[in-house]
Amino acid sequence: MSKKNSEYLINRKDNQYEVVIGLEVHAQVLSESKLFSTSATKFGAEPNTQVSLVDAAFPGMLPVINEFCVKQAIKTGIGLNARINKRSVFDRKNYFYADLPQGYQISQFKNPIVGEGKVILDMPNGQKEVGIERLHLEQDAGKSIHDLDPQNTFVDLNRSGVALMEIVSKPDLRSPDEVNVYIKKLRSIMRYLGTCDGNMQEGSLRADVNVSVRPKGSKEFGTRCEIKNVNSIKFMQMAIEYEANRQVNLIEEGKTIDQETRLFDTKKNETRSMRSKEDAHDYRYFPDPDLLPLEVSEKFIEELKNDIPELPDDKKKRFIEEFKLSSYEANILVSDIDTSKYFEEVVAKMGKNKDIKLAVNWITGELFAALNSKGLEISQSPVSAKNFAILINLIKNGTISGKIAKTVFELMIDGDKDPQKIVEEKGLKQQSDPKAIEALIDKIISSNREKAIEYKQGKEKLFGFFVGQAMKASGGKANPQLINEILKKKL
């Protein structure tokens, strides 16, 4: 495993600084109902319509845990190559806020459900391992809306009690790029597992970013600041850059860095101190007496292990071995579960005599470009994997040329039409009858006598001219290989 990545350093006159980053990712568990209540978790519902008596903390209401959320957390732990703790404990994290109806959040403090694990990142200069400190289950809070009324804050509790997995990394990340790859990798693993949809726009994935800096080569960690609740990779990267530079400036000015919680202002592109809430946070954690310790058996975990699909790292390895793909190509195909699904379906549909390289080129080239321009995900592709496979086969068996294939593909994008039919209906089939091509070429040579002579005298460049003319005359349908062969003979 190569450790040397292109280093991300912050340079000042005499000094170079390394940035140390750790992430606390909050991933919403994919589940129908909430962690401790039976209300729905759907995104975008009318305010306060997915709130049960438990979520709104009515007197005497009690939490009852959702088994599926427990399974989801364990599966994610397995996906992160982590230790699963057979006994974990739910604690109360006590603080007051308008969108925290209980006055505490049920979380896991000392005994999380998942312990240490690791994630492998594919960086341009090789692989990098990032340690996972822990994963625990906790409740999400509701939403305070401050801008609907000048005097008041409005509270929507729909999200209150939705299950979150907090995935805490070790401080192993060293650059905004690594953070980008790390988040995408986590997202990819969870999407493969079906434990989190990773939708950052909807807030299903957000992170608290811990940043510190230290002189290059130093072993000691600097004082860290925590940037709260950043909800896009771009903002994380911007926040890290700003924050690292701010800290370096303080050091350069001989000032000290306060350990504090900061907010990233996306409009001003800066982090700023969250006005320390009068008193320092003192969450008064203690085991939730409404819940018993959560115990899971070896069998329970084993069954979940057997249920784990092939994950990106394994899939990548297999693609390289089985399909002789480059590491780069394999990475692109496995990074998103839907892409890998599409690709594998194409491979399956291509049948025996398949050209996988060609298929990969077409997926990463034409298909991605087309989806991109239409703003679609691969799961929404207007071209089904089956038709895509047929198209690749048509190229492979010489029915159409690559150039014609592009025309066919454009037609396919506008509706999932069978490429075979398009070729037939539009008469785009490649001309592969040698006699017809011979006749065509004879005609061209006779009407371009001088050029043919020039060619014979050694002006070899003119060969291309004849190929072009032949193609043009055939309406692009002539088999280019045959044109070459026959032209060579005739000239």
Binding site: E32, T38, S39, E46, N48, E67, F154, L292
Partner: protein, 95 residues
């Protein structure tokens, strides 16, 4: 063991209960006598004792992932001191 006024003020902030000077003094007195009594526990050596985590000697039961609570917004909001039919309403949060 002595709980001073500063501590009382700190705890009252954490507990979100405002106390004036007079009450703070009374509370400090009460708490000190209560804690004098509680300090009796220090006589007891407990280094090798496992804390009791749950009195019910059983493990957590898990429920299935089903949506049972439907939209009961009207019920949820009905008891609130201030609302606007859709939301709970609280005085502005100052950041």
């Amino acid at each position: 063991m002595s709980i001073d006024l500063k501590t009382i003020k700190h705890i009252s902030k954490l507990a979100r209960i405002s106390v004036d000077e007079k009450r703070a003094e009374k509370l400090a007195g009460d708490l000190n006598s209560i804690f004098d009594f509680i300090e009796k526990l220090n006589e007891l050596k407990t280094d090798n004792v496992e804390p009791l985590t749950s009195i019910a000697e059983t493990t957590l039961k898990l429920r299935s992932d089903e949506v049972k609570s439907k939209n009961i917004r009207e019920q949820i909001i009905k008891n609130s001191p201030q609302d606007n039919e859709d939301y709970f309403v609280v005085p502005k949060v100052i950041e």
